[in-house]
Symmetry: D2
Subunit: 470 residues, 4 copies
């Protein structure tokens, strides 16, 4: 949840609703609960009596929809929306979703969370046959495949297209007649269905968005499923039988909001368990446990509870962190000017500290926090990471695409400890992580994708095969 501190980023969030007089407004609130999944841009497309109308722009949701008029214009009883994560600074509104397509034979909108691993190949094929793409994103490919399909109905075309795209994806589509939700065969990305008191169906990347709009949870979308929602109600279909659960472990560890449940497991509770298990696996004598705000607070309180060592607020995060922040010069940084995170000198001075964090990517942030605590007088800083070391890139929707970015890919535990200048450093074991989450699905690693920890990718890698060697 603390996108400023980490260099890990989720790819997106989606939300859709069918059958509500204020569909686009509900979508706005639903997307707001998913804002942590993407801050580059946001958009909503509504279905007003079969005509689709959309608005999208760069910026946070509340900036994109700063005028209620914009929302009011998106009239109709159904809508889908999207929040997008910024893969690079050069944001273009062209890439902001949902994409809205106006064909002579109808309007279609499309939103996507995840990452395709054969997108480049597919795009090359379509372009070679005269197709024209207008965005850099993977998402558009699905619509090309649908339009090129020779099947009869839209649903059949869609199912065919879904078997052609590979990787991690949660799709939402809106047409004149219905809303469609589809999940990849490994269920890498979360996607949940709920229902509002009024009967309207909602679909969202995380259950926290269902709670926010007052919808009760119906079920998770299962791998390989295509959910069709229209005025006749909800129908559950499958587009493939070749499925195997590989839910992204990082959703539990870092990305999802603590109040969300994924496949029945509450994220806060999973994190607290990770902290407890970590305390079991790597105990240490200390005066207090501190979590890195905000994502590691659950794990830290679990560590504290298990170890009996007091949990303290030794780090304070400035809640007014903005997108356009003027950076201190090098001179000022050397004088100690810092932003975002402050150590609480009155709390940590002369103390032995257990610092709980949820991951180490490059190690620079962790090193900075250790130094912060030491500068504030901490005697010892024992770093405890509530997940195994990140050693391999992810191609299913998280922005860690080369090994070079991962300190644990090349350095040993002791070498990392030295670099971050911690008194000690320990990671949660893979087994400990699996137990803490406790999915117990009938699949490897109880149904989790653990590839970033152990390189065991649950699918072929297609266009990304080469990235493994970087």
């Amino acid at each position: 949840m603390s996108y400023e501190v980490k260099s890990l980023n989720e790819e997106c969030g989606v939300f859709g609703i069918w059958g509500h007089t204020e569909a686009s407004k509900v979508t706005y609130f639903g997307l707001h609960a998913l804002q942590h999944r993407g801050q580059e841009g946001a958009g909503i497309v509504s279905n007003d009596e079969g005509i689709l109308k959309g608005y999208r722009n760069l910026g946070l949701l509340t900036d994109v929809f700063s005028s209620s008029e914009t929302l009011t214009n998106l009239s109709g009883r159904a809508a889908i929306g999207h929040v997008r994560y910024a893969t690079s600074g050069t944001g273009e509104v062209n890439n902001i979703q949902p994409f809205l397509f106006k064909f002579f034979d109808g309007d279609f909108a499309l939103a996507h969370n995840g990452n395709l691993i054969n997108a480049k190949t597919l795009r090359h094929e379509v372009e070679s046959e005269g197709g024209i793409f207008h965005s850099n994103s993977d998402t558009e490919i699905l619509m090309h495949l649908i339009r090129r399909s020779e099947k009869e109905t839209f649903k059949e075309k869609l199912k065919e297209a879904l078997t052609q795209v590979k990787g991690g994806f949660a799709y939402l589509l809106l047409t004149a007649d219905g809303m469609y939700a589809a999940l990849d065969p490994n269920a890498f990305r979360p996607l949940a269905i709920g229902q509002m008191k009024s009967g309207a169906y909602v679909v969202a990347s995380e259950t926290c968005a269902l709670d926010t709009v007052g919808a009760h949870f119906l079920r998770d979308v299962l791998p390989g499923e295509l959910i069709v929602i229209n005025d006749d109600g909800m129908k559950i279909e499958t587009y493939t039988e070749e499925t195997q659960y590989s839910i992204c472990a990082m959703e539990y560890i870092y990305f999802a909001r603590p109040d969300s449940n994924i496949k029945g497991v509450n994220v806060h509770s999973a994190r607290k368990n990770m902290g407890k298990k970590l305390a079991e696996e790597h105990p240490v004598v200390a005066d207090m446990v501190i979590g890195v705000p905000n994502s590691s607070l659950s794990a830290a309180s679990g560590f504290a509870e298990e170890s009996g060592i007091p949990y303290e607020m030794g780090l304070v995060k400035n809640q007014y962190v903005a997108r356009t922040f003027i950076q201190p010069t090098q001179e000022l940084r050397e004088e100690g000017v810092r932003m975002k995170l402050s150590a609480v000198r009155g709390v940590v001075k002369d103390k032995r500290i257990i610092l709980v964090d949820d991951s180490i990517v490059r190690g620079t942030t962790c090193r900075r926090i250790v130094k912060l605590l030491k500068d504030a007088g901490a005697k010892e800083v024992h770093v405890r990471i509530s997940a195994p070391p990140l050693k391999y890139p992810c191609f299913y929707g998280i922005d860690i695409q080369t090994k070079k970015e991962l300190i644990a890919a090349t350095l040993s535990n002791e070498e990392i400890r030295e670099q971050i200048e911690a008194t000690s450093l320990e990671f949660l074991s893979e087994e400990g992580l699996i137990q803490s989450i406790g999915l117990n699905l009938d699949a490897p690693y109880s149904g989790l994708c653990m590839a970033y920890f152990n390189g065991d990718y649950p699918t072929e890698l297609y266009d990304y095969q080469q990235n493994l060697s970087n």
Copy 2:
């Protein structure tokens, strides 16, 4: 710290620096650490070889100074800055501080945190004699008094003016020759002095701003003091001997950042002590302790530690709360659409909960949170407030100006409990609060102002005498 949830508001924050080549940039970072004290507007005035230059505008600091050029233009080796709280929606840039005055005989800038209680009377007097005010704020009055003084030197004029203004104030002034910091005779508002590695002196409303710019704490400004900082160093003078400590208890309870120290007491620790003391005074059998984010988390963890009941994250606050948020319609609210705060259903379902909050003003927010938890399945919700009931208005710089706004001014404990629909409701005692903070100064209530709890105002009330009866 959570300005969206409470209806309590601090009046402002000030920051100043003398003797640094990047004075305005350091001020920017210092003010950023004080942003929780005011979100309506911000400004900085710098002293470039005796010429004062200023910029101020409505909005958060990062919006006001969104271009680094604006800061670069504020060149010079000294600067003062201000963040302002919005007393009303009709914000005018005229009221944003620091105020910059350009007289034929020199430039002066002025920033102010607090509230004067004889401002109306003084303004009437000055206007009757031909003086012209340009803002609605109390702040300008001091400059009029200075200019009208018949004393010889600026410092003597300033001292005379300081004896004329009554109430709570922490002033920062900048002239061609020096920076001046003055605190009211009761030290209602906090004000601390620090020094950077380079030797530059800094003055700030809270010590967290000193930490943020890498300055070490020198001392608190004492009641009745006038600190003069110029190229000869720092000189401590007094403008009155009639002083008595009455530090605003609400700074410890709610306003100040947890990493700040006020008169040597760390705010997080004080809050944790309040939680512990509250657990001692009003124990209850329950399954978990939950704090209202973000300001009550310290007290909640103290309650948990003392009671041995686990501390859980049962409420999640959406960190993307914006200033311009489209509100749900009444219909949507009835369907359960909510923003900002979510209950974590997976955590609180079927549980007996101790909900720790730091204050109840009107009761509406608390009632909403209790309902949120119950809707998420909580069996019992025992509300514990880590401060005594707010019964009287404050006139020294906090925005509670009539009794009508205070539920505890008219209702009994049991009546409030009924209204907020809690299973039980208890407040920390006055004695408990005083002990938790532990100031032990030689003054009533160990040096705290407790007037909002017991009506014992440490000064005459001047223009506000009549407000007591509202």
Copy 3:
């Protein structure tokens, strides 16, 4: 040139340059000279060593490129640009040109002035075969036809595509290797080639843009030509031999800037001739000649010169007319509140006036101006229009698409005079118009398109055949 007063609108302006180190900056200045041809949006795509980079947005050119950084980012030695006219209020950045396409086999950019008359049919065909369009504009169709062509080279594909699109068009294309300019077989739209002192080639909708960037005029693009400009210089090719000059007469009458030459004829001089001819054809005894600012000033001065009646400034146009102007309420309008145009009472009072305008579309504007003059005391207002009556829609790039919008399509001269409440009303004859322009090309009407006056369309109408009956 006075887009606020007329309801006639040009479709766009294009500008391109090859071989200049500041290509995008020159394009900016060239587009500025073409701003009268489109105010909805603007864009530029540059070619930096084969990589195309673009920026476009809604608004006037100076708003779109308000920061010089944006231009600096569009580095490279070639660029094309576009200003777009607003066909409707609901402007979308998606429709702003140049369009930039990034294919696996290269980057392409496309800008277009004109209107295709078989776009709907072509789009339907492409979509039926799986093609996806992303804008509402006709422009995109050309790129689809190019990509679907089975010819070998890009140039051959482009030529094939150019034979498939019908109507009025002036295209500019930019690729890694070259810039391409193509004109429709009737030369409805103007397009001229020039060369800068440095040797760089420029192509622009009007010669005024060549003058603005200091380029000397080389030649007009001829109907059916495809100009190829690359590092080897300029090559002139043709994609069809079936051509016939039908230059849009309204370019001379109203749209083009007076300092432009089209096919060798200066626009101001042509207009002055129209005024002279009009004075010959329809003389009247009066005290002064007044032109409607700004587009009819040339014709009015010609009328004055020919008739010997003094030319006066009897109407003043407020030069600060903005896009977002608050309109007077009906009550205020009835009290006489008016904007934009004022009659000069001191000049027109008690005078017999000849009012020269260049066209009457709905008649409402003309009626308003006559009233304005009468309210200011004019005794007689003789309206003289420096063109024949507009009776038929245009489908080649001017926004008059149904007869219903044209008062002269249904009313007689006398009926119009009554409606606009003029003392007398006369139009220039078709023959007079042709002589005034004096093109003398070997084609009907000396090479002009006169269809809006006489319904004699120089091409088949394809998708628009039905519009003739509306």
Copy 4:
């Protein structure tokens, strides 16, 4: 009217209305007609049942009041407004008028057109007695003088203050009870009174604003008058008898809109007369007469009419000149890239041209235009200036404050001609100017201020005495 081309600038425009239900909206339209008098900022203060409410900001009127809501908030039956000219780039909203003062004993608003010549002295006096100014502008001084006056009534205080300020001024004041308009004893600045059909009184800097709001002209405000308008109607009073007409000649020559009348003389007609007289005084054999757009078109048409030489549009001004225009680099300028003004090559090529302009300040603009025409092929360029040479600074409200800025202050006619590279150069004589305007008031120069031509200042110069020697 062409603020981009000249370096001459008017100081401001004022508009006021009493007795209209849409007072602020009428003020908006009135100010729009005065926009040529000031483009830096704009503001309106309305009187709603005795409570004054204001809004002002930097930018053009249509930008400042871009939302009709802002106007709607300025409710009430009276209003005054102001457009301000930018004396420097560092515009501050503090200086934008009307100024709104809120005293314990009432609200007052103040707007000002002109320049005081003893402002510095008065300000020094007031500050020495403890007064505080908040803007850099002269305007505020009047309110200080009013508030310090010991007279009984507001009107008496105002009259006393008006005798203390010296120089050129047209003031508008608004109080709970009435609107006050005052003109300086020389009537340097124009100020006119009109009445709307509904009976509401309006006061404006120029009569074009009366016409724009449908008001009929009642009378000019006379030198030394104080007009009082309230619910009892209009009352004309005088605050001094020591008056002498010295109407700014530059208002006729350059500043005022051609459709305005000043003291009964139409500005367009005066300019046309200047052109005629210029043709008489300095005839020359040539092929055409060209005026510099837009301000010299009237004079040019007068010259053409008198001389019998055809009037042509040989220069075209780009009407889309923006405030934030990216400038061409030096290299581009050398290649001939130019903006704003274009010569019409097809018209001027090989021709002998008479170029009529209304003034030469530094000579750089004129030189550039001559070069433009020659580059476009003109054989001869005879420059004729429709006013005498500018040799002395102005202190009454025009921004020419030192002799250094004036080429004619130091160079002879022939030297200027050489510098601007004209074939010949002649100026209108002082006598010719006086006759062209034809005021014939009983005062030196028939009632005109001619000081910038001959140094004969009609008042003492107070603070500016020293400027004469620069």
